[in-house]
Structures are given as structure tokens and as C-alpha cells.
Amino acid sequence: MIWKIAKKEFLLNLVSARFIIGFLLCLFLIPFTVTVNIDDYDSRMRVYRVDKANAENSFKVRVYSQLRPEIVKPPEPLSIFCQGISGNVGNRVKIWLGDKPLFATGKAAIRDNPLLNSFFSIDFVGIIAIVMSLLALIFTYDACTREKENGTLKLLLSNSLSRYKILLGKVLGVYLTLLPIVLFCYILSFILILNSPNISFSASDWGRIILLFFVSLLYFTVFIFIGLLISARLKSSITSIIVCLFFWVFFVFIVPNLAVYMAESWKKVQSYDNLQYVLQDLGKEFNSKCDEYAKTLEAPDWWNNMNHEWDSDGRRIMSGSSKSRFEWWRKFHEFSEPLRIDYADKKWNLQKAYLDSLNEQRNFAEMISLISPSEVFRLISASLCCTDVASHCRFMDRTRRYRDEFIDFFRDRKIFSSFLYITPQPPETFMTADEIISTRTGGECKNLKELGEWMNAHGGSWGIIRKVQIPGTHYNEYPFLDLSDVPVFRWQSENIFAGLKQVFLKKVAGLIIVSIIFFYLSFLSFLRYDVR
């Protein structure tokens, strides 16, 4: 009997205007959204390839101080389904000695024009969350009221048919109607994805999509029961639809904004710019300690650095200087680099506190958003698609661990105290200042004093020093370092169950419990429903 009712409901729904409009809405929206997101993925992929090539160049160095590996995370293929926070966070992490990785960079690259940031974008999961909940409500709001208004409910109940069977039949009918639409949405997006050449899903990705499909079913089940409950509590269809729609607007449009807005207001987060100022102060402290140490070092015979290039984070490459100048710099870095790492830890204490406050704010927002099934659905989808905050944090944790590994490598090999940290020139070819001066000036000046006199006579010009070039004193003459033993960050996509245990235990179980409660309540209400 349940089947008969379900079949009747299904056939009635199938020819109804709401089915046609709902179906058309999906037919138009899903391909459009998926195409937009595939396009977005392609452009991320393009940026990724450029970044990746640049990152590989970060290993082409002549001295160790210039080695600062860059990690580039490939775009998550499942972001086509759910973007999560992937648009807010970057995908590139540079490993510095003076800073632990806090945020990934490279966000702006995804969107060339930062002005377009004011436009939001929607993904597959967003469409499912909006449209399927609406359809579920539209198909159930009049489950009891319409039949009552038409008088058919009386007729139905005058048969020897138990009310629970009618209710189950109706639920099944709606399910049968909505299932093809959801299935259709998924199949359509599969076809689009399989047709685009740049996307390849791994087995684990497919597994996750299948899980996503079941979560979508669970999601609209909740709304079916909400609609059923409202229908069983009210007398007229028009009241029922109004109440249903307000719930829909509240859950789908208001709660997501309300939750985040309240979190931003009630959980305070320090401004990033102000954090930068505090970090700058630490940087200054570090610099002054280095300067103090430099004063204690024995002065070299010549301060000239000859061929020299330097950059932030202690990156320095030099050649052609005097032996004692090389030694001066070696001692300087032997002191400064471990101190730099210590300061990175000091900075990290502040950064960690900042990161924690961001997470606390996010948790608060998440907690409020739990009142909306559609937000729960979005959160579950983001974890399934590895685009949630937790996946990002796991990635950042791994980059920090990699930095530790990288530093351990430097420490184990005593690289900070070696000449190779700053110069590719072999120590046996180092010369004294006087040797350099007399060779380079072609014997015209014998020592520093004579050079000084020459320069004074020629308006401060260094011209004479370029007269004779000494082979092997320019760093560009040396090959790149062989870095085959340096630890490399290997990017592996997460396995199918990574981070899912928590989600399934809490959120999915929550959705199931909520839908059972709603079903039970609607069942109770329907038992007492006044059919007159």
C-alpha cells in the first residue's frame, strides 16, 4: 500500500509545474556553475604551473644562503564541487629561516583583478544547498494541507489505511521525485568534468564524491521532514508555504551571514597590520643584536665586498673579496642564522596566538551556523572536498614540519658555519687584500693605501680596480649546487578518510538525528491531524 501511495505521489509530482520549474532550474544552474568552477580550476592550474616552474628555480642556487625552497600546493580538484576557503587562502609557501609559515601566499594570482573580489562566486554545493532545500520544501509543504483542502484526505483515511503508511508513502513519493533531480545534477557534472581535459580525479576523489552524493540525499531528507512537519501542523497550504519559505530564507540566506557577522563582532581578532608592527619590532631587535655582534668581530684587512648581492632573510652571495672579509662574513652568519631561527620561534609565539584567535572566531561562527542544516551540509562538503579550514591547517602544519627538517639538514651539515653558505669560491683561492689590489690594478697599486691615494686623486672613482679581472672571482662562474640530499617537500593528496572521522561523528550524525526528530514530530502531528 505504501508503494501505491508513493507511486501516486510520484506521478502527481512528475506532471506538476513545480517539478518542471525545479528541473529546469537545475538544468540551467548546474552546468553553468560547474563550467564556471571548471574554468576557475583551469586558471588556478595555469597559475600553479607557472608557480611550480618558479619554485623549481628556487633550487638553482650557487650558495646555501640563497636556498629558500618554495612549496606550491596544487589546486584541489574537488574544489569544483565545493570551494570552501580555497579562494581565501593562498597555495604557495616560501620556507624562510626568519619566519615560520603562517599564511600561504599567492591568493591574488587566482583573480588577476583584485577589484573583482567584491563579487562572490557560488559552487555546486552552494546550488545544491539552495535549490534542493527549496525543492524539498516545495514538494512537501502541501503534503497534508492540499489533500485536506481538496477533501481527498478524508477519502483516503476512510479506507482501512493506517496514517503512518500514508505518511511513509508521501515521503517515499517525494524522495522518488527528488532523487532523479539530484542524480541528474551529479551525472551532468560528471559528464562536464570527464569532458574537460585538464581534470583528473583519483580513486579517492571519486570516493569522496560518492560520499558527497549520500550527504546531499541526507541534506534534502532533513528539509523534506521540515516541510512535512510544517504541513502537518498547519491547516492551509498558503500558510504552510509561507512558513516553509521563511524557514528556507532563514536557514539558507540569513544564518550563514548572521553566524560569521556575530563571530566577527563577539570574538575579537587583532588586526594583521598591527601584528606586523609587533613583528617588525622583533626584527629590529634581531638586527641590533647582529650589529652588536659584528662590532665584536676582528676587522678584516679590507671591508670591500667586491662582487656581492644580498637580500632579506640572510640571503647573500659574494665572491672576490679578501680572505679575512670572507672569514668575517662566515663568522657573522655562523652567529646570525641560528639567532634568526630563534627569533622566528619568538615571532611564532605571537603568530600562533593570532592564528588561534582566527580559529577561535571561526569555531564560534561554525557553532552558530550549526542551527542551519544547509550550513552543516556546506561544512561537511568542504571537509569532503578537502577545501575546509582543517585541511588547510594540516597543509600549513606540514610545511612547518618541513621547515624544521630543512633547518635540521643545515645544522647537521654545519652549513651555517661553512663558506659555502655565502660564497661558491673555494677557500683555497681566497687572497689577501693586497694580493687582490695588486693583481686587479695590474700592479699599479700595491696595497690598500696606494689604492686610497689613487681614488682620492681621481674623484672617488673605482675604475682602476676593474683593470684586470681575476678568473674565478665572480660567483656567476660557478655551477649550481648539487642539492640532491636536501630534504624535499612531497605533496600528497589526502587519503579518502583523512579528517573525515570527526566530521562524520559529529555533523553527519547530527543531520541524521535531526531528520529523525523531524520525522518523528511530523508523524506525531499527522496522527493528530484534524482532517475535517
Partner: protein
């Protein structure tokens, strides 16, 4: 007669369940939104004044040590939190709100990390503009979707039209009453919100804000007239109220979700601009060309002696390099502005997007504000450079070779901080706001007229049986 219809409709509306629910929802969001705004504004202002104090402090330190450094150092101007954010935030936190400049140039803009949390999903703040554009637009559709088709179903429409009333009056009466009903909610919520703001004493409710509120109300009226026209249109298209409901829901989804969320797609496909990395390569090529053709000695690294002739060559080279880079960048910025403007033009199909853009003019935020800061900052930069050149000219120890990246061959004398010009953002003038607004006003009035006339024509042919 039209008055009778309006009064009857108003009574109908005010006693209906939809009015009660939407009124309650609206008021709750107005109150929660305003309280949340006040809490947040307080914290934001604290952080901003801390930031600004430190900014000035650093500027003072630099000024009092070396004026040349003052010219060379790159700084960021970050715009201050607006006190009238509770009317509309114009999505400013997602907007480029950080401008990089030195005395030599304005280098660009970016979306500052500032106080935003990258771990939160993008969202809209619960301000007046959000409530009107999402909640009230939905409510007005709920009031209009069955004005015609619903009455037809109950048979009341046939009865009404059997009297000697022209159809235009019936339609207009229903239309106006729906607008009035939702306007009542908006006004009630706004007054409540203003009262909360005034009594909290955290934000001064100035006379300028009062003017902005009135202008906002005018826009709300236009916006609600537009959505009410769309709701009435869906009511006369269909003959059954549930179908007209579906139609108006579809319209609403298109306006709230689809159009704003697909703008990026149109921007990238129809109004595409060059990729940032292509621009980077162009700059690099031009830069290498300049460096290659530079006279011998231009690339010599620095020596402490300011009057070394090589420094002059290098200063000329770096100036050329900066100018060549900025010429490429500035034309790219123009492309960006054009891309945004064209994309906005496409999204005007949605009255909600239209309403958002108009609000920018009302509160002086968003793109209108961005353009103003961008232009003003260029003016300031010229003034700042002139100031430093004057100081430099008075210094006999300076060779006056302006190098945008080094302070070696310009003055190194300290300068009193009080004399240094500071960039302060000025609010948008009334004229600027109006010129930003006027085209949008024309569009929305045209929109209302077009939709309402279509509705009227369809209603004239409406079969009441």
C-alpha cells in the same frame, strides 16, 4: 476608489501571517545587526587608531632622521572603518583597501588582510542594505505573487472587476499597498536601528548620517517598487497562485544568487584582461632593455660618497625603470577599472546588484570611495614629492639626483614631522555622489517603468474566469 483598494489591501496585508513573520524576522535582524555592528565598530576603531598611531610614529622617526628616506620608503595607506557601515558596508573588506605609495609614485592597491579572517567564508554583513536587499525583497515578492492569481482562484477578482473600476486602478492599488507594507517594515527597522545607535553612544549619529538615511530610504522605495513590480508581473503571468509563487521565487533566485555570483564568469569571459604574470613579464622585458642600454657605470652598487658621478647615472636609470614599470602598470589598472565597470553593467539585470551599487553613492563607500582615494592619493603624492624637493633644494650637501629606490644622492637632513604633509581621506562630496548615482537612478526608474508597463499590458488581457 484607488484609496479604498489600497486601504483594503493594506488591511489584508497587515493582518496576514506573512506580515507577522516577516516583520518579526526583519526587526530581529535589524536589532541583532545593529548591536553586532556597534560591538565590531568599537574594536575596529581601536585597532585602526593603534595602527594609525604606529604609522605616524614610524613616519616621525624617519622624518626626524632623514628626509631622503621619507621620500623613498614605501608606505601603505589603509582606509579607516566607516562609521556609517550599518547602512551598507559595500563589501569593503573584500575591496582593495590598501594603497601602496612613496613620494615618487602610487604603486598599486591590494586587498589588505587587515582585520579579516581568511578562515571565515565570504559573507555579507547584516546591515540595512542586506536586510532590504535579501529579506525585504523576498517579503515584497511574498506580498505580490498572489495579488492577482490568488484573487482569481478565490473568485474575488471577478467580483472586483464586475464593478466599474478600471483595471489600472486595481493593479496600481495592489502594487502601491505592497510597497507601503514593506516600507513600513523598513522604516520601523531603520528607526529602531538608529535609536540603538544613538543610545549606545559608541557612534555619533551625525546630521550627515541623517541625510544618508533619508537618501537610503528613497533608494529603498525605488528598489521595493522594482521588486514589487516583478512580483506583480509573476502574478499576472500565471493563472494559479502556486505557479506564480514558483515564478517569483525563480526571479528572486536569479537576482539574489545567480546574477551576483556569476559576475566573475562574465568578467573573465567577456571582459577578460591580460593575466598578471603576462604584465610581470612585460615589465621585466622593458626593465632588462633599459638596463642593457644604460650607460656604463649605471649599475654600480652604492658607495657612501653621494657626489660619485655613477650615482647620477644610477638615479636616472632607476627613475626610468620606475616610470616604465608604472606606465605598464597604470594602463593595466585602467583595464581593471574598465573590467569592473563593464561587469557591473552586466549585473545591473539584478535590481539587488543595482541597489548595492546605488548604496555606495549614498554612504560614500565601495568603488566610489576607492576611485576617490585613488585619485586623491595621486594628488597627495605629487604634493609630497614637491615638499621633499623643496627641502632637498635647500641642502648644499645634496647632489639633487632623485633616485626612487635609494636615499643616497638626495638630502639626508632631518625634517620636522609637523611639516610633513599627511594623507587624510576626505569624504565623497555631494556632487561626486550624485554623479556616481545618476546613471543607476535612470536604470532603476526605467526598470520599474518597463516591468510595470509589461505587467499592466498583461493584466489588461488577463482572463479572470
Amino acid at each position: 476608489m484607488i484609496k479604498t483598494i489600497i486601504i483594503k489591501e493594506l488591511q489584508n496585508n497587515l493582518y496576514s501571517l506573512r506580515f507577522h513573520i516577516s516583520f518579526l524576522l526583519c526587526i530581529v535582524i535589524f536589532v541583532v545587526g545593529t548591536i553586532a555592528f556597534l560591538k565590531k565598530q568599537d574594536a575596529k576603531m581601536q585597532e585602526y587608531s593603534k595602527y594609525r598611531a604606529e604609522f605616524k610614529n614610524q613616519l616621525r622617526q624617519t622624518a626626524e632622521s632623514n628626509a631622503g628616506k621619507l621620500a623613498v620608503n614605501k608606505r601603505a595607506f589603509i582606509w579607516r572603518p566607516r562609521a556609517n557601515d550599518f547602512i551598507s558596508d559595500c563589501k569593503e573588506k573584500y575591496f582593495p583597501n590598501r594603497f601602496n605609495y612613496s613620494a615618487y609614485n602610487v604603486f598599486g592597491f591590494e586587498v589588505g588582510r587587515g582585520g579579516t579572517n581568511p578562515f571565515l567564508s565570504t559573507f555579507q554583513e547584516l546591515n540595512w542594505s542586506f536586510i532590504v536587499s535579501v529579506v525585504l525583497s523576498f517579503t515584497v515578492l511574498l506580498f505580490t505573487f498572489d495579488t492577482i492569481s490568488g484573487e482569481k482562484e478565490t473568485g474575488a477578482l471577478a467580483l472586483v472587476l464586475s464593478n466599474s473600476i478600471p483595471r489600472a486602478k486595481v493593479l496600481l492599488g495592489k502594487y502601491i499597498s505592497a510597497i507601503i507594507t514593506t516600507m513600513v517594515m523598513a522604516i520601523f527597522g531603520i528607526v529602531l536601528s538608529i535609536l540603538i545607535v544613538i543610545f549606545s553612544r559608541k557612534v555619533d549619529f551625525t546630521s550627515a548620517m541623517l541625510m544618508e538615511t533619508l537618501a537610503f530610504l528613497l533608494l529603498v522605495f525605488l528598489f521595493l517598487s522594482c521588486t514589487a513590480a516583478i512580483g506583480t508581473l509573476s502574478s499576472v503571468i500565471a493563472h494559479k497562485s502556486n505557479i506564480s509563487l514558483l515564478l517569483s521565487l525563480t526571479f528572486w533566485l536569479v537576482f539574489v544568487v545567480i546574477v551576483p555570483n556569476t559576475a566573475i564568469f562574465w568578467a573573465n569571459k567577456v571582459f577578460s584582461i591580460e593575466h598578471a604574470d603576462t604584465i610581470g613579464r612585460k615589465i621585466n622585458t622593458a626593465d632588462q632593455e633599459l638596463r642593457r642600454n644604460a650607460p656604463e657605470g649605471s649599475n654600480t652598487s652604492s658607495s657612501g660618497f653621494p657626489f660619485l658621478p655613477e650615482h647620477k647615472l644610477r638615479a636616472e636609470l632607476t627613475m626610468k625603470r620606475m616610470n616604465s614599470e608604472m606606465a605598464i602598470r597604470n594602463s593595466y589598472f585602467q583595464d581593471m577599472f574598465r573590467q569592473l565597470e563593464s561587469t557591473r553593467l552586466v549585473s545591473l539585470i539584478s535590481p539587488i546588484a543595482l541597489f548595492d551599487y546605488m548604496n555606495e553613492a549614498v554612504v560614500g563607500g565601495g568603488y566610489a570611495r576607492f576611485k576617490k582615494v585613488w585619485t586623491d592619493l595621486h594628488g597627495y603624492q605629487a604634493q609630497f614629492l614637491q615638499f621633499l624637493k623643496t627641502i632637498d633644494a635647500e641642502d648644499p650637501d645634496s647632489p639633487h639626483w632623485y633616485n626612487p629606490w635609494e636615499d643616497l644622492s638626495t638630502t639626508k637632513k632631518p625634517v620636522a614631522f609637523e611639516q610633513v604633509p599627511l594623507f587624510e581621506e576626505k569624504p565623497l562630496s555631494l556632487a561626486a555622489r550624485f554623479s556616481f548615482l545618476k546613471n543607476y537612478l535612470v536604470v532603476i526608474i526605467f526598470y520599474i517603468a518597463a516591468v510595470f508597463s509589461l505587467t499592466f499590458v498583461l493584466f489588461l488581457r488577463y482572463d479572470v474566469r
